[in-house]
Structures are given as structure tokens and as C-alpha cells.
């Protein structure tokens, strides 16, 4: 809950002090891919909220789990009801610091973002390699990482356990614009 409040109030609080140094996207894209022997599982979420704070050199994400779109309705149902339990854990969050970040460097820089990822109420440290591009006063951050499903206690029925990969690949693409309240 504290993390959620942080995400809600960070832009507001920072907005009063240094409005030019924070960037926001409400339409960040996160996709995940999991290999399964029967059929690969893929879903996309284009409504991810993210704040990039240049002063703090930090990034924060808030992901609404029900906003992941699947092609097959049964996969979507299983994802929300059985695996993620979206009613109980509606959001995933990430807060991290961009290491050795040069905020106003024009062009692309590849950096590590070190932080905490919370999914299903479980928080684990995560270090992600990302490309950060700055041009025309917008930032684009792209990259990918993998997470281990057992770290977040995602329950896979025993009958399917051998057919579903133990890791999930997560890709992201965020296009930030200056946040002006």
C-alpha cells in the first residue's frame, strides 16, 4: 500500500518543486512471454503507468494486472483467476534507481536499473539492463528481463507443471513525456 501511495503522490509532490525534471507515461507497454509445450503464452499491457524522476535518477512503475490482453479468453481467465489472483493482487510495481545515469545526454545510453519488483504481494530485488533514449524532450526506455515464477509463488497445477516454463520473459517499452500538473 505504501508503494501504491508513493506512485500516486510522487508526481504530485515533485510537481510542486521541480516540474521539469519528471517524465510520465500512462501508456507504457509491458509484454510477457512464457514458453509452453502445448501453446506459448503471450500477453500485452499497454496501460502501464510509469514515472521517471531525473533528480532522483529513479523510475517507478505501476502495472494493472487485469489490463494484460490475451488472444484466448481461457488463458486470460487462468492468468487472472489462478496464477496472478488479480482480485487479491491487482497491481505489480517496480521501483528502481538507474545506475550511472546521465539524465540529459542526447541519444541512447545502456544502463542497469536496480530495484524491487513486487508481484502477488511478494517483493524481490531485480536488476534490469535497459536502453534509455533521450531526444526532443522525451525519454524512451526499452529492455527485457526474466523472472522466476517460483519466486512469486505462482501456482501452476501439477498436471501442467512439466509443460510450462519456470521463467517468464518480460519486455518493456516506455515513452515518457514531461509531466506537467
Amino acid at each position: 500500500m505504501k508503494k501504491l501511495l508513493f506512485l500516486f503522490f510522487l508526481p504530485i509532490c515533485l510537481g510542486f518543486t521541480k516540474p521539469k525534471n519528471q517524465y510520465l507515461t500512462r501508456n507504457g507497454q509491458v509484454t510477457f512471454f512464457s514458453y509452453a509445450s502445448a501453446e506459448n503464452i503471450k500477453a500485452e499491457n499497454n496501460e502501464v503507468l510509469s514515472i521517471l524522476d531525473l533528480d532522483e535518477e529513479k523510475i517507478a512503475l505501476n502495472i494493472l494486472m487485469r489490463a494484460f490482453e490475451f488472444e484466448k479468453s481461457l488463458m486470460q481467465e487462468h492468468f487472472n483467476d489462478s496464477y496472478i489472483e488479480s482480485d487479491i493482487f491487482p497491481r505489480a510495481t517496480f521501483e528502481g534507481t538507474i545506475l550511472n545515469f546521465r539524465p540529459r545526454l542526447i541519444g541512447t545510453q545502456t544502463k542497469f536499473i536496480k530495484g524491487d519488483f513486487t508481484l502477488r504481494g511478494i517483493t524481490k530485488p531485480l536488476k534490469i539492463k535497459a536502453d534509455i533514449d533521450y531526444s526532443n524532450n522525451t525519454y524512451t526506455i526499452t529492455g527485457e528481463t526474466t523472472i522466476d515464477i517460483k519466486d512469486y509463488k505462482i501456482k501452476v497445477p501439477q498436471i501442467l507443471a512439466a509443460k510450462i516454463a519456470k521463467t517468464v520473459k518480460i519486455s518493456f517499452n516506455f515513452k515518457y513525456e514531461p509531466y506537467e500538473k
Binding site: 499497454n46 496501460e47 503507468l49 487485469r66
Partner: protein, 128 residues
Amino acid sequence: MIISASIIIGGILFFNYLNKNVPKTQSIESIEVFSAENITTDAEGLKKYDRYIEEAINIKGKLKEIKKDKEKHTLILSSKNETVTIICKMQKDQIKKINNLQIGKTITIKGIYKGYLIDMILLNCIII
């Protein structure tokens, strides 16, 4: 013979069940109609709409912005509270209608409510 036929029919039905696509919003009945102008709350107050999660709802409101990313279109409607918008990710078959929209005009969309972050989020939206 009857057993074989039953197995085949059962197999087909099960296969269809497993491979059923997400239904089009046109085929789902809306359970509530809202006016965006009456959504006055801040993000914290959006919790009261949780009972509509995964339901189809209609929202009438002023079109603030149209976002396009490849074939994906998102409409943003304004609410009474400036910090809260209604984000409507559009169904793919709505492109023609979207091309005729004008910013500032009042439109009604139907979509599946998914919850909120600092905005209300609806997916599979159609213009009605």
C-alpha cells in the same frame, strides 16, 4: 459407433472451449452507464468502481486525446477531476470510426472496465 461419435463431438467442443477468442464487446451487454463529467473523484476514490471490474460499461465524455501506436488506438476521455482520465484501449475493428472523431466532442464508448491506476482503464472499447 455412438461412443466414437460422442468422443469426436466432445473433443471438438473441448478444443473450441480451449481456443475461444476474447469476445467482441458488441456481443456483451453493458451493465451501467456513466457520464465522465460525474466522475469527480481523485485516483484514491476510484476504488468505488471496483464492482464493475470485468464488466462492460458505457461512459459518455469529452474526447481529450487520441493515441495511436501502430494498429493500436487509445482514446482518452476527460473527467471532472483534471488528474483522472478515462483510458479506453479500442477494439481493432473501430479504426474507421476513430478516424472520424474530433477532439473536444462528446462521445460514448462501451468497454470492459479493468480497474484503475491514476486513471480508469477500459479495454476492448467500441464507440456507440
